[in-house]
Symmetry: C2
Subunit: 111 residues, 2 copies
DNA sequence: TGACATATATAGATCATCGATATATAATGA
DNA sequence: TCATTATATATCGATGATCTATATATGTCA
């Protein structure tokens, strides 16, 4: 069951960069991997992913190369140094945000 | 330090309903309370809050009443039954989402 | 008196995501 | 052999949540 799409907002780039920090991947593979790892919570749409990848490539966050696999040409994405820095920042930001939400949700019971 | 605004997306309603589940509040008070409880992470803007409150009132999620305090008329908001149900749903959704993010961020190290 | 915090409100802009649609090849199965 | 489904990438327009800027009015403090 996917969650409200708007919750995803802002964390998609972080999640993609995290995947790419482990190994190079092509777009479709990212969608599948995100879906599997999140137990179907994240169902990233192709219409969201590809424009996002293009934008990240333009900004020098990712690099891309083509590779033929089984007669098909796939576009593999690789995380650049700039991307690793952004990933680290976003992971930090995520922790801050998640902790703040927890504070609001539990403060009432604690106080 | 506030986080990227887009991270907030989708969780603002939940946070407001949480506050109102504890006691009735007026708009400005909600902004201040969110800011304090989150250690300045959430800096909800008035331009975001008031239209949102109006919308939630229209949908029957909240009810509103006026109260004069120190010569000033404030609008106090109260959570309706419908709002309590929505809050419970959204808290559940938040847990699901946060866990899914954690899964993606940690799977690489675990696998 | 002037500045600042309190308090609410609206209009327009921005940005991330989605839905719909398009194209093309490989694999599967009838 | 033919149809269907999965794989794989791509773009366009719509949606929705938030922000910025602006407006108004009162109370408080210096």
């Amino acid at each position: 069951m996917p969650v409200d799409k708007s919750l995803l907002s802002g964390s998609t780039t972080m999640l993609l960069l995290k995947l790419l920090s482990e190994k190079d991947m092509y777009g479709y593979e990212m969608i599948e991997t995100l879906r599997e790892r999140s137990q179907n919570v994240f169902e990233l749409k192709a219409g969201t992913l590809y424009p996002l990848l293009h934008g990240l490539e333009e900004k020098g966050v990712l690099t891309v190369y083509e590779k033929e696999v089984g007669g098909k040409v796939r576009k593999y994405y690789s995380i650049a140094k700039k991307g690793q820095k952004i990933l680290a920042d976003k992971e930090e930001e995520w922790k801050t945000y998640a902790q703040a939400v927890t504070n609001v949700l539990t403060a009432g019971g604690v106080v």
